[in-house]
Amino acid sequence: MSRPRLTFLESSLPYAVNAARLIVMDRGMFVADFFLATTVPFLMQFLIWSYLYQGSSISRSFGVLSLSQTLFYYAFSIAFGRLNNGYDVVSNLSLNVREGTLEPHLLRPVPYPLQKLADFMGGGVVYSVPIILVLAVFVFIPPVALNSFFWPGWVLLVVVSQILCFTLSWTVAMMSLWLVRTDFALSLLTTSAAFFGGELLPPYLWPEWLRPLMSYNPFRFMISAPAQAIVTMDGGFVMTALAWTSFYAIAFGCLSAFLWRQGMKRYRGAGG
């Protein structure tokens, strides 16, 4: 009658598939995300950095990356910024809690946090398209040596960075179970990601006293660390970033699991 021994991962697959379908179906969001939210910031960075690097030896001292590397750094960072964006994770839970509509989802045989992880990863499949496009340009236009050792590590780093983004966002989302309005949590998440993620400036361009924070905060490993890794093709950096990203992903995973258990004890929902 029923298929035996399907794992949680398999039974949560429909959530991932549906999340991807919803993004593709919502053409307005698709256009906004792919064209406005990615190309406009890139164009701005392109104009700024082309001007700063123009012929001047002083401007070259801005960074250790060449102009083309800097531009690729921004293209990747912006694409990773969209891929690893936990806004929906927070806003969906907040909405469900505020409207008292969590119960039907809690009663599925797939744990709710896993449903949301699958949702997030499913959306990630669609949002990885800009990364693949930038990667295609990066690999084929100025030919890059395909280091077979580097690539698996980098792909793993990307996947772990997504898990980190989810666990961090889910931890922030837990505020919904204690607070009435979580707008400030959303602002905190998006502002922190924009500021600490490395989309504004690579960490080495910040004042020296700020560099440790800009280099080792969790948002950095969600957004600009995979970008820096691919642009520099530095296998050693990939391993370091992978270790930090895994550490943060596990730490936020444990924290969010604890908060979820505590939150569910106090969650009441609404009656009829």
Binding site: S11, P14, Y15, V17, L22, G269, G271
Partner: protein, 344 residues
Amino acid sequence: MEAKTLIRASQVTKEYVTRQSSPGFKGVIQGLLKPRYSRHKALNEVTLSLKAGEILGFLGPNGAGKSTFIKLLTGIQTPTSGELQVLGVRPSDRSKAFLKQIGVVFGHKSSLWWDLPVRSSLESICSIYELDRSRFRKNLDHFSQALGLKGVLDRPVRMLSLGERVKCEVAAALIHEPRLLFLDEPTVGLDITSRTELREHLRNYAAEHEIGIMLTSHDVGDIEACANRVILVNQGSIAFDGKIETLKANFGLIVRLLIRIEGRSFLPKEIENLQFLLTPSLARDATIVIGPDTVSATLRRETSRSIIAAVADLDMDASIEVHAPDLDEVLLHHFKNFREGHIL
């Protein structure tokens, strides 16, 4: 062979601790520095059982504890004390095997993917519950036919009418063949056609598949049409547990009196006299409705005799009819008593 017991609740109590808020700025500061808490029993020592094939109607006024009980039975919440076993396990453990054997419909809350076609939601549910594809197709055909869903399967959920959506929710709750179905106010907001179709389907489905159904509703018609047993709950405690017929008979001590005048309206003096007779001081728990040519009152049988005699003495040329009240009236009467602190 005796039917299996699906739900066994013994002395189940659920108590909520709520942080009290005081008015004004000073109150807010005090609340932050020295919070005060109050305790409220949503359910108080509830004992009941439900067998396979049984449809149990759970009735009570708002805030009586109906939804809380559903949340305890489905494992969303944990009882403060007492023992609770659903399908042989403790629901609050929320094991995958347990969750796969229950279906739940919350009338106010959708479990479907809002922007996707109904069919996609149902297919997803099939994978989530690990149901065999051929079995799924067979069940989908059955629900399409029985609930008239053929025309809506390929429409996004957000484009459906409320009636269509609730029918889809019921199909989604049953498509994985659960042994126990919880329906929390499933017919809220539905028109009479949708309500009737749904009631008929639930009755037939429970009989055919021998599943247990627990139904809470404000619509007494749902309970009357579907349930073979009813529980009245008030302020967290069970006030009645038995057959609907017994409920009606127990409370058959109530009658509805209809005083009708032919060919004209009541005169002000006549209304005044009737009001005087039917006033709560004479029949304390009566409900009186006064119209231009009819006056009706739901009142206890023992008070009705003296009122009938008194009305006849008024010499108004009015007809007096005595009706057995429908379940709605019985409950209205008793919910009113609940509010006034009387017990059954």
